[in-house]
Amino acid sequence: MVRITGQKKDNKELPASGEAYEALLMQRIASKDREAFESLYYDYTPRIGSFMMKLLKSPELVDEAINEVMMTVWQSAERFDPALGKLSTWLFGIAHNKALKLLERQRRHWREQTVEAEDSELNENEWEEVNAESATVDPDNPERTVLGWELGEILVWAMDRLSPEHRIVLELVFTENYAYQDIAIITDCPVNTVKTRMFHARKKLADLLAKRGYSPYDLQEGHS
């Protein structure tokens, strides 16, 4: 950020991109510049929005989450430190919190629906079970049962049944291409937790596949 003044003394325009651009943009937002805030909205929310769509699957929920993310940005723009990472990583950290909250709300809602009359209390480990059962028949397409699915589809199906934390780490690694160090920043945990969480997510995935009669290693042998 100091670099900008050195490089572009006479130019008060934002630099086109990079660390300097991000630092200036956030400085302007911190000083309540609504134009800068608008730039950030159009430039950075598409990626965050798609990430959230994959997790939440509902445009209304994503709108809600993006609203909250933008509010947080407006209120705490001065906390962004370009030395600690890219702006997108910082934004993903905020988005991650909101998405996690909404996913957990969705999860409670599903649980209530699934176990309505039953008086049973579910614990963490039963989350996958309940959802595995409830999702055996695709609600949008009742004819199409899981058993008839292709292996690729069953993997997608299984990913959707993972706990929010596991689902998120998979998305961050495989869709967003984040290094584990970045994921540690985004999810606000130690790097070792990130690695372990990813490893557990993969194990859960294998368990879910096994329940449907697939060995995870079937996947690599040219099926699908």
């Binding site: 769509m53 509010m71 209120q75 993997l155 291409n177 690695k195 993969r202 996947l219 690599q220």
Partner: protein, 236 residues
């Protein structure tokens, strides 16, 4: 399935997802490649992660989310609401802080004033306090909506030394709109308040309604409990 070095395997097996995505640093990338050449278990794991990666990239059936001007307008509206609320909260905090030590605060404030001003101000304050007690019968309630002051003045109002000012106490059930109308008809502007006694200070516009006339007009309104002119205090 056998690996001579358990620790090395444990480290590498956890790095495999990032190895697939090529997001490890070069040193780690090499370390994984080296271990992979001799560990069948890791080779198998790697295959699984490659599959996850392919499937994940292939799921383009998720609808795309796009930003919209409507949403951005909503966000700005939310911010406006939030900022008004924050301003109100600040006003509330000041009020709360004042409430407990009413007389302590009052006397501290009076003592802090320079000599001559002290006497004029203290008389004025005591007088208005007495009047408030008389009219309302008790120390006034918190006036309707702490945000009144904020919403009725767009910018920080400035007190102009030689413009006439009035102390005013509104009825409990007065609405913000009624206050706005009331002040507009008298060309007055809220410049201060509510005080700990629920008193607002209204400044009349230069060349507008005369002070005495404004007092009469305001007193005629049923929603106004009390109106008093403020004696001008010359700058020392």
């Amino acid at each position: 399935m056998t690996h001579s070095n358990n620790t090395e395997h444990d480290v590498v097996v956890e790095l495999l997802p990032w190895y697939v995505k090529n997001t490890l640093n070069p040193k780690e990338q090499m370390r994984v490649a080296q271990h992979l050449s001799s560990c069948s278990e890791c080779q198998q794991e790697l295959g699984l992660y490659r599959q996850i990666d392919n499937v994940n990239l292939g799921t383009s059936n998720t609808p795309i989310w796009k930003p919209s001007p409507v949403q951005f307008a909503n966000i700005l509206q939310g911010i406006d609401a939030l900022e008004t609320k924050a301003a109100t909260a600040a006003t509330e905090t000041t009020k709360v802080a004042k409430t407990p030590g009413l007389f302590a605060k009052l006397s501290a404030w009076l003592k802090a004033l320079p000599g001559p001003v002290f006497w004029i101000m203290s008389l004025e304050t005591m007088a208005i306090a007495a009047l408030v007690m008389l009219v309302v019968g008790r120390l006034p309630q918190q006036l309707p909506g702490g945000q009144l002051f904020e919403t009725l003045s767009n910018e920080r109002p400035s007190v102009t030394a030689n413009l006439p000012r009035l102390h005013i106490v509104f009825a409990e059930d007065i609405t913000e709109r009624e206050i706005r109308t009331l002040l507009q008809t008298q060309q007055g502007q809220l410049v201060e308040g509510p005080s700990m006694l629920g008193v607002y200070t209204v400044q009349l516009a230069a060349g507008g309604v005369q002070e005495q006339q404004a007092i009469i007009n305001l007193r005629a309104n049923a929603k106004v409990k009390l109106v008093e002119g403020i004696a001008k205090v010359d700058q020392p």
